[in-house]
């Protein structure tokens, strides 16, 4: 059966991570992964992004199913509860806002921190990116955003390895957020 174009979006996810490694400024492109799912759920009222266009989901599936890197085990029940999903969304968004705040501080005159923070804790020196062509705050946002994308990719890969290939989808903040938007939207539509 002929594949659809969107079934190759995993390449985009992979290229994004590679480009960001060579020049952190490419991290800005990740905003598309944030805005497109939200726009689809707000205006389209569905989760088409998760269902069809999520490159990361496809990548995890390829690694887990095709290359057999997943143990295909059922994830712990706590990971699948509403509390955990929304709790993780709140935590993730808090960290995201903190990253925005750090960007603002650099905009206001603080010095640029050339580090990528993994799992919100581990700071990796990232000195090889040439960010001199842009303002410091633009670079700071890129470092912060790449940290978010890399951290969520690592969590996705660990979940894929330990549980089922797309276990990350269960607690993916974008998935939780878009589902919540769909719930609100359809509640409103139904009066």
């Amino acid at each position: 059966m002929k594949k659809h174009w969107y079934e190759y979006l995993w390449v985009v996810s992979l290229v994004y991570l590679i480009l960001g490694f060579f020049n952190i400024l490419f991290a800005w492109l990740g905003l598309l992964c944030f805005s497109i799912p939200l726009l689809i759920s707000i205006f389209g009222g569905d989760k088409a992004y998760c269902n069809k266009y999520c490159g990361r989901g496809q990548l995890l599936e390829i690694l887990g199913e095709k290359y057999g890197l997943s143990q295909r085990k059922i994830s712990p029940k706590i990971l699948r509860t509403k509390w955990f999903r929304y709790g993780f969304l709140v935590f993730f968004m808090s960290m995201f806002l903190l990253m925005i705040w750090n960007t603002y501080l650099v905009f206001a005159g603080a010095s640029l921190k050339e580090v990528v923070t993994l799992m919100w804790v581990f700071k990796l020196p990232w000195w090889w990116s040439n960010t001199s062509i842009v303002s410091n705050w633009v670079a700071q946002f890129a470092f912060g955003f790449y940290s978010v994308m890399l951290t969520s990719t690592i969590l996705g890969i660990v979940s894929m390895f330990l549980f089922k290939p797309r276990s990350w989808c269960v607690y993916c903040p974008m998935g939780t957020m878009t589902q919540a938007i769909c719930q609100l939207k359809h509640k409103k539509d139904n009066g």
């Binding site: 759920s41 009222g45 569905d46 989760k47 088409a48 998760c50 269902n51 069809k52 989901g57 599936e61 295909r72 059922i74 994830s75 699948r80 509860t81 509403k82 999903r85 549980f163 089922k164 290939p165 797309r166 276990s167 990350w168 989808c169 269960v170 998935g175 939780t176 878009t178 589902q179 938007i181 769909c182 719930q183 359809h186």
Partner: protein, 73 residues
Amino acid sequence: MIKRKKAQIGKACVACGNCVKYCPVGAIIIHKGLYAQVDENKCVGCGKCAKVCPADVIEIVMREVEGHEKALV
């Protein structure tokens, strides 16, 4: 009435759509981005959806169907 295996989606569905992709007969849709929905007339109870569901909300249950329905599995 006879009994056949059918997929049943639980309330905790995260609407990721993975089951849709793996369903060999196209019996599953994602309803308004909220949850997966099974068309029982199409479902053959093969269990592929349950196997790939990351939220583990799909169960294969025995359901009563019209007597003339052909056994596909």
